[in-house]
Symmetry: C2
Subunit: 138 residues, 2 copies
């Protein structure tokens, strides 16, 4: 599920937040789905429980998950909608990177081609993946 790169300059807890966002957007995590427990993830990812909790807290703060003490942590009802709004910021990042490409003399068609390619590849298959596998006991 999660892929943590401890060598990355991106903090571990932030990697977890980002990846969770992607799972929600991709439909791998659906509204109401239960997220693996702090202690479970801690063992699975070989990361300290506190680090996991920090990620969960951030996801909670962003309104993407709802924590229920004693029960677990669940994907919020409006998580996907919230993310759609947030991800609009990507357009600004794309603008910045494109500006550098203009300066560097890279052809416009190269940039357009990348965008087209991504849309063609992903257009048909959205949100058709399996949720977390059975967490069993523990």
């Amino acid at each position: 599920m999660y892929q943590i790169d401890v060598m990355s300059r991106v903090p571990v807890y932030e990697q977890i937040v980002e990846q969770t966002e992607k799972f929600i957007l991709a439909g791998i995590l659906k509204e109401g789905d239960k997220i693996p427990s702090v202690r479970n993830l801690s063992v699975t990812l070989s990361v300290n429980p506190n680090t996991i909790q920090k990620a969960i807290s951030e996801l909670d703060r962003r309104g993407l998950v709802t924590s229920v003490p004693g029960k677990g942590c669940f994907v919020s009802d409006k998580a996907r909608k919230a993310l759609t709004v947030v991800k609009r910021n990507n357009l600004e990042i794309i603008r910045e990177k494109t500006e550098e490409l203009v300066m560097a003399g890279i052809d416009k068609r190269e940039v357009i081609a990348v965008v087209e390619e991504v849309y063609e590849k992903k257009e048909g298959l959205k949100g058709e993946t399996a949720p977390f596998k059975d967490e069993g006991g523990q």
Copy 2:
């Protein structure tokens, strides 16, 4: 010239590196141009000399500038060409961000529009700006 944001999570020395890259790409800094001295920049930007030097070292390591002890620091001959190669990485970043936008259900036309807009705006006016202003004495 340089705009440093001390509140940013991006380190100051990295901001200097990035901005210098942009100046080179934009033609504000041309091959052979002299970069303001460490002590000069240190005062101008209200940044410690060591921080400036760290940025210079990084630019040197990337082959964008050549330091000459006693004389100064100059934009390398092939700096612009080198950057053109490096900036191709932006295409990968754009790919990632676009993938998220697909997931979030943002329309392809919105993305394309941003790219088109940037190219239309910058296409005509490339590399027509003033270099560093007279450094005078000191």
